[in-house]
């Protein structure tokens, strides 16, 4: 055996080792996340006795995201109205503008864009807050006082996210439809009756609006949990918190888009 082939062999072995290390490390993270998830779910029962904890957090993640969601929804509706009209008018079916705007908002854009904005607006602040709590050893102090941080800090935030996300997505869709109407009917001059009747004829309460709602709940779960996990597992240093915040945005955006594909394939593929 020559030295050349020997070094090739050891290089291959090294690469394999790296791969194994990478997977093992990530699996460990996944295991931690799953364990934390299960613990949070088990321990959130006591929130029923103290709903005030959740409503405080709804104010923080929900109410404060309201303005950005409403304004973005309005503009997305405007753009959908303009672009949709431009495309539909080629086929002489401007009447279907309402249908196009409503379907694209309730099925896709409403839940997805809201989740992405939610990750940027609420997710990052959750990560930073919890990361700083950890860096300031507040979480350890709580444990010292026999207060369970999962129960007292993580669980209310998780449920607040799950409650707020569908509400925000619904508001986004509704405001978007109004935006599409504003551009379509008064500005461009599509017939108002056709706009609404085509929309009502084509949008199904359960298939379209209901599935969009389910999507937004799943996204709320995913984004909030990723944000909380990243904060909880952040390195207790300034760099650690900043890295965790970045990871929150990257991971939750990817998770939302991937989950969206899966959910869409499951919900809408059968017809």
């Amino acid at each position: 055996m020559t030295t050349e082939s020997k070094s090739l062999f050891s290089g291959l072995l090294n690469a394999l080792g790296d791969l194994g290390f990478f997977i093992r490390r990530n699996l460990t993270g996944l295991g931690y996340a799953a364990r934390m998830f299960a613990l949070v779910l088990v321990r959130s029962g006591s929130l029923l006795k103290r709903p005030r904890l959740v409503s405080d957090q709804v104010l923080f993640v929900g109410n404060y995201s309201f303005v950005i969601i409403t304004v973005s929804g309005l503009f997305v509706g405007f753009v959908l109205g303009l672009q949709g009209y431009y495309t539909l008018t080629r086929y002489g079916s401007e009447q279907a503008l309402g249908l196009l705007v409503a379907l694209s908002l309730t099925r896709e854009l409403g839940p997805v864009i809201t989740a992405l904005l939610f990750a940027g607006r609420a997710g990052t602040s959750l990560t930073a807050e919890i990361g700083l709590m950890k860096a300031g050893e507040q979480l350890s102090a709580m444990e010292m006082m026999a207060v369970d941080p999962l129960r007292r800090v993580i669980a209310p935030r998780l449920w607040a996210g799950i409650i707020s996300m569908p509400i925000l997505a619904t508001i986004f869709s509704a405001v978007g439809v109004l935006g599409g109407y504003l551009v379509g009917v008064p500005l461009i001059g599509v017939d108002s009756g056709a706009f609404w009747s085509q929309m009502q004829g084509g949008v199904d309460l359960f298939d379209d609006i209901g599935n969009g709602f389910i999507k937004s709940i799943v996204f709320g779960f995913a984004v909030t949990f990723i944000a909380l996990y990243q904060g909880y597992e952040a390195k207790p240093t300034p760099e650690g918190v900043s890295q965790a915040t970045t990871r929150t945005v990257v991971l939750s955006s990817l998770a939302v888009l991937a989950l969206d594909f899966l959910l869409t394939a499951m919900m809408f593929s059968n017809n």
Binding site: F66, T170, I171, S173, Q200, L205, I209
Partner: protein, 165 residues
Amino acid sequence: MRKSAIDIWVGIFVAIGMLAMLFLALKVGNMSAVSFAPTYIVSARFDNIGGLKPRAPVKSAGVVVGRIADIKFDDTTYQATVTMTIDKTYKFPKDSSAKILTSGLLGEQYIGLEAGGDEQMLAEGGKINQTQSAVVLENLISQFLYNKAADSGQDKGEGGKGSSK
């Protein structure tokens, strides 16, 4: 329990969310078409259903009287079995006929029911025997082209004037 400003703001937020949901349900969606009224099931066989889909409307005289529940292929008769649910308030005679129609030139397809003259009414699990399949555009075009070719062939045979246009 003391009401604080936080509670009021959260309440407003949730109320706006509910309003938005109500708007989507009533104004955007077809809440009116979702009825929980009792229905009965009727089935019909078609040679060709074209682009008919489940949940498409069943109309009589243009009024929606029911929806299509299920479409299946029957490999003993090589026909499509369409099951539809019809609102219990509407009764149809046993010899009613079902057609697959298209709304507009490129619109969605639906089933049109035409009432017959029988004394007995269709009941739960009834069958509609007279059916007319969907019009398939390709068949129509090929028929048209075939006729056209036959005509031009005749012209040639009679007068020898080539009407090849």
